[in-house]
């Protein structure tokens, strides 16, 4: 199985790397933000907030290209908005998608996570109290 893993640089990226270490899959491909600052990913997007919808929509073709080129069976994101965008591109191209909400959101699912609920194959929270309906708790990184 080939997996595309996406997260913006910073805490989301750190969590994505820890998550990747746990996965037993054939191939892992990474996408992130802040190119020029770290070389950990094969593909990059510009960073934006989920509230700056227009900046995200403008990058949708780029997100679609990333999914097309990497040809994953599954797209996983730990956030934030750029991860959501690539996950959405994966959904548009008929890929399986998994959202793992950041462990930073312990009182409420992130806004991006709530958006992911609308289309993602599975949505995970890292806090048992936040598991409801479509949102599952399978454990956490800390």
């Amino acid at each position: 199985m080939r997996v595309l893993l996406v997260a913006s640089f910073g805490g989301h990226w750190v969590q994505l790397q820890r998550l990747a270490e746990l996965l037993e899959v054939d191939e892992q491909i990474f996408a992130s933000t802040a190119d020029g600052h770290h070389g950990g990913a094969s593909y990059y997007l510009d960073d934006f907030s989920v509230r700056e919808l227009w900046r995200g929509v403008r990058q949708l073709p780029r997100a679609v290209r990333i999914v097309r080129r990497s040809q994953p069976d599954l797209v996983i994101s730990t956030g934030a908005a750029p991860g959501l965008l690539v996950l959405f591109a994966g959904f548009l191209l008929g890929k399986k998608t998994l959202w793992v909400d950041s462990i930073a959101n312990c009182r409420r699912l992130s806004l991006s996570g709530r958006a992911a609920k609308l289309f993602a194959t599975r949505v995970l929270t890292q806090w048992p109290d936040l598991a409801t309906g479509r949102v599952c708790y399978l454990g956490r990184l800390l």
Binding site: M1, F9, G10, G11, H12, W13, V14, Q15, R18, L19, E21, L22, L23, E24, V25, H37, H38, S49, R51, L74, K96, L98, S102, I103, A104, N105, C106, R107, R108, S110, T121, R122, W127, L138, G139, R140, L141, L142
Partner: protein, 168 residues
Amino acid sequence: MRILFAAGTQFPFPRMDQVVHEVSRQRPSWPLVYQAGPEASIRRLSSLPNLQVQPLFAVEQYRGLFSEADLVVTHAGMGNILACLEQGKPFLMLPRLARLGEHRNDHQMDTAEAITESYGISFHEDVDSLVRAILTYDAASASVVDGDTIRTRREAFGKQLNALIGTL
């Protein structure tokens, strides 16, 4: 004491700048390092003689500075918290607050509370209290995080994750 301060990279965080200023002034012999974020006013900070400051250190350099630090003082961002907990690095947190324009919402406050609950690491809500905690910090009596707990939790999570992925 060698201290690494980390403000995070999104939005300005002038309260952390203040903390760095105060500690630098009161402990001129301590070597201080500050990753101030792209929006900080670096010019004012760079006049402090015992401070090495950058908006953003290169990833490799940051890793080195992190491992050399005796204490890490950080915004309540998950990247640094994860690294500190995993490596058993003593740290203190200053959560960013939405009402001061330091973040979009108060999730850092939630994070800090959750980390305090799970790992007994204290966080501070204002500059004075944090500065006091730094100046009187006693590494020997700080609560030590058990790396095994994290490892065990993570392995269990990994098992569940792989099982889920197998069913997708």
